[in-house]
Symmetry: C2
Subunit: 110 residues, 2 copies
DNA sequence: GTCATATTTGGCCATATAGCCAAATTGCCA
DNA sequence: TGGCAATTTGGCTATATGGCCAAATATGAC
């Protein structure tokens, strides 16, 4: 690929990589419904606070979420809800994969 | 998160993870324009054939691409072009991030 | 100031990934 | 059948990641 394009692909990959973790996907979905503070998310995810904090820092670093200090907590919010549209497509891929699998199974029984 | 949901998040994360690499993003874009064989992609990406082959196997494993043997080459194609819509959103995130950065810079100069 | 609560950071280990080279495999065609 | 071309696989190293625990760092209340 053109070397001038490389930084752009790297920037995109960094953002996508930030989404590429089960707990972080869960967090993204929750934040799409409601802003949340670290404590709430920690309880919902069911992992160590430090682990969740690090996940949030990954998301923030990628620019996917924003954080705001309020009262004695830090509230995180999803920055670009369009991210959620993508999940639908991911589900499509999963469905397509499942269909293929079914086809293969069927041809094996012949 | 509900433990019953965990496999679903893991499945989604696996697909997103497969996209989370600069070369693979490049390959996805190319395959969106045209199906391509390994040799062509190798030249376009500019890496070792074995490296590109492994990238393709990651994409295939995730269900993002299909492969078809033809003549003496294997042609890969993008399975769900909707994936491409997502890139637009990723760009939005990058823009939002850049805007923030500008704001911060501005407030520093005050 | 001191305490308690909320969050982040550092340290550590186990695991996964990307990349190259070399070797194995697969399929076409003379 | 033998060889060539395309692709995949194995082996290796360096690097990054996720997770927990423990420690550090805010921030608000008294």
């Amino acid at each position: 690929m053109k070397s001038s394009m490389k930084p752009q692909y790297e920037a995109r990959a960094k953002i996508i990589k930030a989404m590429a973790h089960p707990s972080r996907l869960f967090i993204i979905e929750e934040l799409n419904k409601n802003e949340r503070c670290v404590g709430e998310l920690t309880e919902m995810v069911g992992a160590d606070t430090s682990t969740v904090s690090k996940h949030l820092s990954v998301l923030k670093n990628a620019g996917l979420v924003t954080d705001e200090k309020r009262a004695n907590s830090i509230y995180y919010a999803l920055r670009c809800p369009c991210i959620m549209n993508f999940i639908g497509c991911v589900e499509d891929v999963l469905t397509a994969k499942a269909e293929d699998h079914k086809k293969i199974m069927k041809s094996c029984r012949k």
